[in-house]
Symmetry: C2
Subunit: 386 residues, 2 copies
Amino acid sequence: MTDGTAGWLPLSAGERSVAIEVLVHGPLSRTELARRLGLSAGSLTRLTKPLIESGLLVEVPEAGAPAETRQGRPSQPLDVVADSGFFLGFKITEDTVYGVVTTLRSHIVARHDRPLTTHDPAEVADVLAEMTAELAKEHPRLAGIGIGVGGFVQDRAVVGESPFLLWRDVPLADLVEERTGLPVVVENDVAALVEAETWFGAGRGLDRFVVLTIGAGLGYGLVLGGKRVPFAEEDRGFGRHWIVDSNGPLTPDGRRGSAVSLLTIPSIRYQVRAATGIDRGYEEILALAAAGDPMPARVVDEAARALGTLVAQISNFVMPQKILLAGEGVGLMDVAGKTVEETVRDLRHPLAAPVGLETKVSDFHDWARGAAVLAIKVLVLGSAEA
Amino acid sequence: MTDGTAGWLPLSAGERSVAIEVLVHGPLSRTELARRLGLSAGSLTRLTKPLIESGLLVEVPEAGAPAETRQGRPSQPLDVVADSGFFLGFKITEDTVYGVVTTLRSHIVARHDRPLTTHDPAEVADVLAEMTAELAKEHPRLAGIGIGVGGFVQDRAVVGESPFLLWRDVPLADLVEERTGLPVVVENDVAALVEAETWFGAGRGLDRFVVLTIGAGLGYGLVLGGKRVPFAEEDRGFGRHWIVDSNGPLTPDGRRGSAVSLLTIPSIRYQVRAATGIDRGYEEILALAAAGDPMPARVVDEAARALGTLVAQISNFVMPQKILLAGEGVGLMDVAGKTVEETVRDLRHPLAAPVGLETKVSDFHDWARGAAVLAIKVLVLGSAEA
DNA sequence: GGACTTACTTTTGGTGCGAAACAATTGCTG
DNA sequence: CAGCAATTGTTTCGCACCAAAAGTAAGTCC
């Protein structure tokens, strides 16, 4: 089952950089690669040869721009053999396991979800193995599995602590490897999403990059020099102590006026419920706010200001080239993006370099995709460093 | 005059790392260097040979621990020839030029200040040349000059814009090189201080490091991966838009409740003057606050909380290994350090890794030393990258 | 069809490194 | 004091990697 991957490892530093560049930036000719990587043309011949022989790269006919006919010998673009291997990504939540199959390029080619009725580690591993078997029917050439879990993960293998699963020191990678025979990488869900975006998404090629996720909680990821910076508190809830407005609302989660109290979906729903007595869904609240209903509008406006304040603070102190907003709560940007941007502008030095703010509409399959990307990173390229 | 430096450049990457390690961490044996740099013993022989031949390094008798007599061949520590060259550092303020002479190790061996009665570029360059001549009497082996200026500096040579000197596009490096015959490096004062601390000071060997200076204004420096991150606004005043407390005081500088309004020396003096009608010095205000005088105590307390808030925000978003407080306003920490630390703790996640907060008592000669270090960095090691 | 342009390959030589053998210098032991 | 162990530093060799230059391939332009 792992035949396709046998010849991949190990890659030298030069080969790895070539493989990553092609993987991330699509078909590229050797000359173009030499330019991008700062290497000579000769080196590219040398570096690409083993990659082509091992089956990771192929020469493709010519890019989709045959109209642009230049003089001289036509270039010979190289591309990854996208279907030389598929990767599985799982995201485990309290009540559901979301699964995706992706290509080497991290394109999702299949989805499959399953309710989770137990939190017993062995039974969860059984569920994952069953889902793997099911997905393997359609895509037999599976090369590895990535699993994203909310919680503290050690060595990309052991779930050290997960509050919502009530796990402690569960060797999840081993459990799933035993059952599937595939190599498994386990990581914190936010960390996996951040790494995926750093590679294939909004953070591609950036030196300083921040990911902020809004959902049931807040997530924060910082990438410096292409590497994610680990935070001690990252898996026990960001933002509970980020006091944005000391006069802000008090909610069950987080401190008064904290980012969590102002921004997360449960806190926003709680505020509306506490004020009106009606339990409304998040999207419903956004729609009401957009329509001008005063109470939801006030809550949403406050949330937008809080988000703007956070973005400004991050910009002021980290100066990332881009900040990516992701998670199920980014609908806020559609309704109140203008307020967010105004707040950011107000709290930044007028001469400061503007920071790109990007919103990514995302569902749970994106988290699973993030886990799959981490598996690609570790298993194909033999290293987590980029 | 530059004989001693003739053979230094250029250094290969390996040689440079050896030179820096010895320069920064004192006498080290080849074996110890191999361990620290992750190189083989043989490479160290190769790399150290040209450095010794060029006179930058020497074998020194043995460290000050002859008691610790181990078995085997005794190690042969290498050290920089500290007096093989001296470096000049200048800090130009509105009314004074502060000058220091340092060794290669950045130890200050002489100081000399001069009032500045004119801001005419040529005359300022004359003053610098005269000070250089004077200091050269005692220390003839001058190898280079570093100059720190508040303002925007381009290419480490040209003062693009300096508000307090009313300069624009002044080729200061050229002007001083003409008059002294020495190589000159010009840099923004905060940037120079940050680089100096990154090398020889509190930031030695750290990956993520922040410098916050408090004085007439605020300065902020971010070092990631050993490299300083350039900020577009850095030379036009940090902190004017960092709103710490929207109900805070309104002062002539900065926005209401901004870090500048709460923390800088002029703002603190302004607040006390506005409330009491008496114009008091900064140190005097700190002393009164410590003694319990209500009005100064309130202003100082508010400043301490503001500082704590900033430190917490920086910690939360950047997660530096250390934050260094420097500048003429750090006396605040002596009087209200406890308040600062409490505020930081209050605004950090309880599980978050603690951030080292270090205070550096500094006067203007430290700024001059920073400029000298930058000259060492550029002139001796042939590169600003570490 | 010849001149030209661009892409890629091959060859050559240099650099920097580690591995391993070797030399040097001490302490320890009988 | 001779011999051994321990440790540091040196020399030699070979490998991995790269750039430069020369050569080859495959197209366009006139």
